[in-house]
């Protein structure tokens, strides 16, 4: 059974300018010991989605279900949630400097967390646990460093301390929201290694939220690509990177400079993400999509399975054969002609068909 099963989750925020539709009907599941990577750009709803699960989006209109270990998180009271947060689901945020209190010693902050959830733990026990945890996340001389203040730690060490705090009560699931974005490459690699190693030791499920496809390629098992509050595509890491179907996923992969493709020019996605207050009609990606069909403009596609065997879903009207890098552009062009697509779209499809990369 899945550890977390989210069904048709919708989150919107009423504001003076209109309703911000941050998450619009997202479903996914996370298995114990597995890593789900959620990828998306700013404003795709990836952070709101996960914060809603743990009750950190006050004032939002929330619909749907999120069953974690048998209980629907969205039905819990604040007091019940408080017992789950930190103890059974913990969170690691992007910026470890603002997530740690600057005026309390690092060890105290970890110990406090233990004592808040375990009334029986004495001060001494909690302190010992903090030392032990700092040691586990690779902080040298933890028995001395527990007395340090956050500013005495480097960026990488602070993020290790945050991870120690997240692990303190042996949670079943960790939500990591861009945990390495603020770190240098060599430190990022250390932190990702640490997360994987700890996950293996304790069979914790991990939700990794990131805009960095490199991080996902490195540590995820399954990947969900989000665009404008919806899952554009969902599948295993292999499917997303090598058999992607949704033009947005393909566009993201092609936007990244890549030494193996000696391209003079990058192929960016034109335009910019839509406003979440004023979403376009039909598929929310259609104004930026090179494969747009007439249907895309008026009807929003559901996330449907495009693979008979594996669980690979894409919210796109293109035929299933469009999966894969440089997928059969010829088929797309035929399809465009058959469906009487508008002029520009046919031209785009033909240009793609003619370009040597797709051969």
């Amino acid at each position: 059974m899945a550890l977390l099963e989210v069904e048709d989750l919708t989150v919107s925020f009423p504001t003076a300018d209109g309703v911000v539709k941050a998450v619009r009907g997202v479903s996914f599941r996370v298995e114990p010991g597995q890593t789900l990577g959620i990828v998306g750009e700013s404003g795709s709803g990836k952070t709101v989605l996960t914060q809603t699960l743990i009750g950190l989006t006050p004032g939002a209109d929330i619909n749907g279900k999120a069953v974690f270990d048998g209980t629907d998180l969205l039905q819990l009271s604040e007091a019940q949630l408080r017992r789950i947060r930190g103890a059974r689901i913990s969170v690691i945020f992007q910026d470890p400097l603002t997530s740690l209190h600057p005026l309390y010693r690092v060890g105290w902050q970890i110990a406090e967390m233990v004592r808040a959830h375990e009334a029986s733990a004495s001060r001494k026990e909690a302190r010992d646990r903090a030392v032990d945890l700092l040691g586990r996340v690779g902080i040298p001389r933890p028995e001395q460093r527990v007395h340090d203040y956050p500013h005495q730690f480097s960026g990488g060490m602070r993020q290790r301390a945050m991870i120690a705090m997240a692990l303190a009560l042996a949670p079943k699931m960790i939500i990591a929201d861009e945990p390495t974005t603020a770190l240098d490459a060599t430190v990022q690699a250390q932190i990702l290694d640490l997360l994987l190693q700890l996950q293996e030791e304790s069979d914790t499920a991990l939700i990794m939220i990131t805009h960095d496809l490199g991080v996902v390629a490195d540590i995820a098992d399954d990947v969900m690509v989000m665009y404008a509050g919806r899952a554009a595509e969902k599948g295993t890491k292999h499917q997303i990177f090598y058999e992607s179907h949704h033009p947005y996923t393909k566009g993201l992969l092609e936007s990244i400079p890549n030494s193996s493709v000696a391209a003079d020019r990058l192929r960016p996605i034109p335009g910019q993400p839509p406003s979440l207050i004023n979403l376009p009609a039909g598929c929310k990606f259609h104004p930026r999509c090179g494969y747009v069909l007439d249907r895309c403009v008026c009807a929003e596609p559901e996330l449907v399975r495009i693979d008979a065997v594996a669980d690979h879903g894409s919210a796109c009207w293109l035929p299933a054969e469009a999966a894969g890098v440089g997928a059969s552009a010829e088929k797309l062009r035929e399809q465009a002609v058959r469906e009487g697509r508008r002029g520009a779209a046919v031209e785009v499809a033909e240009a793609i068909a003619a370009s040597p990369e797709v051969a």
């Binding site: 750009e41 700013s42 480097s154 960026g155 990488g156 060490m157 240098d184 490459a185 060599t186 430190v187 990022q188 690699a189 250390q190 290694d193 994987l196 805009h211 960095d212 496809l213 490199g214 991080v215 996902v216 390629a217 490195d218 098992d221 890491k237 292999h238 990177f241 090598y242 566009g251 993201l252 992969l253 936007s255 990244i256 400079p257 890549n258 030494s259 000696a262 391209a263 003079d264 020019r265 990058l266 192929r267 960016p268 996605i269 034109p270 910019q272 993400p273």
Partner: protein, 351 residues
């Protein structure tokens, strides 16, 4: 940029020799005694041929932004020289620096912090015209709108405020402002790291087009190694205020000689799961040390997997290593040899 023919070696636009920038560390209080020096940049030399792009790579605290600011004349250098088209522009007084400032412009990382939120876009982009009095006031609007069009902004948005633009569009405003005086050198300090990937590619393409069109020279600072590889003609890797390795981009990326370069490259995450699984990572322990009290000898030796006794004692010179082209330099006593396995960890394969 990519595809650009290398300029003749004699045509160097900007040359930096042995540049040093130390910031004094003072005690708090009335006396303000100087108790140490932050050695932010410590003896860096480089040259950028006209029309090419030099990529400057390094982690937080390596001194790359300080170096850029010294070159642009925004902060005075402690010692060393900067030559622009053969003329010494180091620490020139304000008035004598003015003509050079027109030729050296900067694009900053944060498109939110680098534009005044209370001024209209037209005024922001037109500022350089007003400051340097190159365009009479009645022609400014037209000139600004030309620039806006050139960088892919709608010229009708002349009277909007920065808040009305997205991150990528704001970065285009920054590019237009940098371009206004037709500079010869543009220093780009992490110009795309605050942008989403799909937008990042748009801005990188724009920078490439402008370079081709106007023959611009770029000093391009970034921590993303794939981005640097894409845009650069040559690459310089900095560590703790010093150059670890420098050379044309392909030799540096394909056969790095400095263990730090090798470690950086091995830590970079490619958006390719198979490459990630096959990757042999060089684990660096610890963090970059404090530039107030840098390690003796080679500054990298406490973290280096190849360090020996000599490395802690003697600083390695930046020189050509055996078998390398004369343009590929590394500062290491025990350079990495081709095919050498430095890897100390490989990522376990997950099903």
């Amino acid at each position: 940029m990519t595809g650009q023919a290398p300029a003749a070696s004699g045509d160097v636009l900007i040359r930096v020799d042995n540049l040093v920038k130390h910031f004094p560390v003072r005690t708090a209080g009335f006396i303000n005694r100087t108790v140490g020096q932050v050695q932010a940049v410590d003896g860096v030399s480089l040259a950028i041929p006209r029309g090419t792009t030099l990529g400057l790579v390094g982690e937080t605290g390596s001194g790359k932004s300080t170096l850029a600011r010294c070159i642009a004349g925004l902060i005075p250098a402690t010692s060393g020289t900067v030559h622009f088209e053969g003329r010494d522009i180091t620490n020139l007084p304000r008035q004598r620096m003015a003509p050079f400032r027109r030729n050296i412009q900067m694009i900053f990382q944060d498109p939110y912090g680098s534009l005044n939120p209370r001024r209209r876009v037209g005024a922001i982009i037109g500022d350089p015209f007003a400051v340097h009095k190159t365009v009479p006031a009645d022609e400014r609007k037209r000139k600004v709108q030309d620039l806006m069009e050139r960088v892919g902004l709608n010229p009708e948005h002349y009277n909007r405020f920065p808040a009305e633009f997205s991150g990528g569009q704001r970065q285009r405003i920054g590019v237009a402002r940098a371009l206004a005086l037709r500079p010869k050198l543009i220093i780009c300090d992490e110009p795309v790291s605050a942008l989403d990937v799909s937008i990042q590619a748009q801005v990188l393409n724009l920078l490439a087009d402008l370079q081709r069109e106007y023959g611009l020279t770029y000093l391009f600072i970034a921590h993303d190694l794939e981005v640097v590889r894409h845009v650069s003609t040559s690459v310089t890797v900095m560590y703790l205020g010093k150059i670890a390795e420098a050379g044309p981009k392909n030799p540096v990326y394909d056969t790095p000689r400095h263990p730090y370069t090798a470690a950086l490259l091995s830590a970079a995450l490619a958006a390719d799961p198979e490459a990630a699984a096959a990757r042999q990572r060089i684990i660096l322990t610890g963090d970059i040390p404090s530039p107030i009290d840098p390690p003796s000898g080679c500054r990298f030796h406490p973290r280096c997997p190849k360090a020996q006794e000599l490395c802690g004692r003697q600083e390695p010179p930046l020189e050509v290593k055996a078998g390398d082209a004369a343009t590929h330099l590394a500062a290491c006593h025990f350079p990495v040899t081709a095919g050498e396995k430095l890897a100390t960890a490989s990522r376990r394969a997950r099903p």
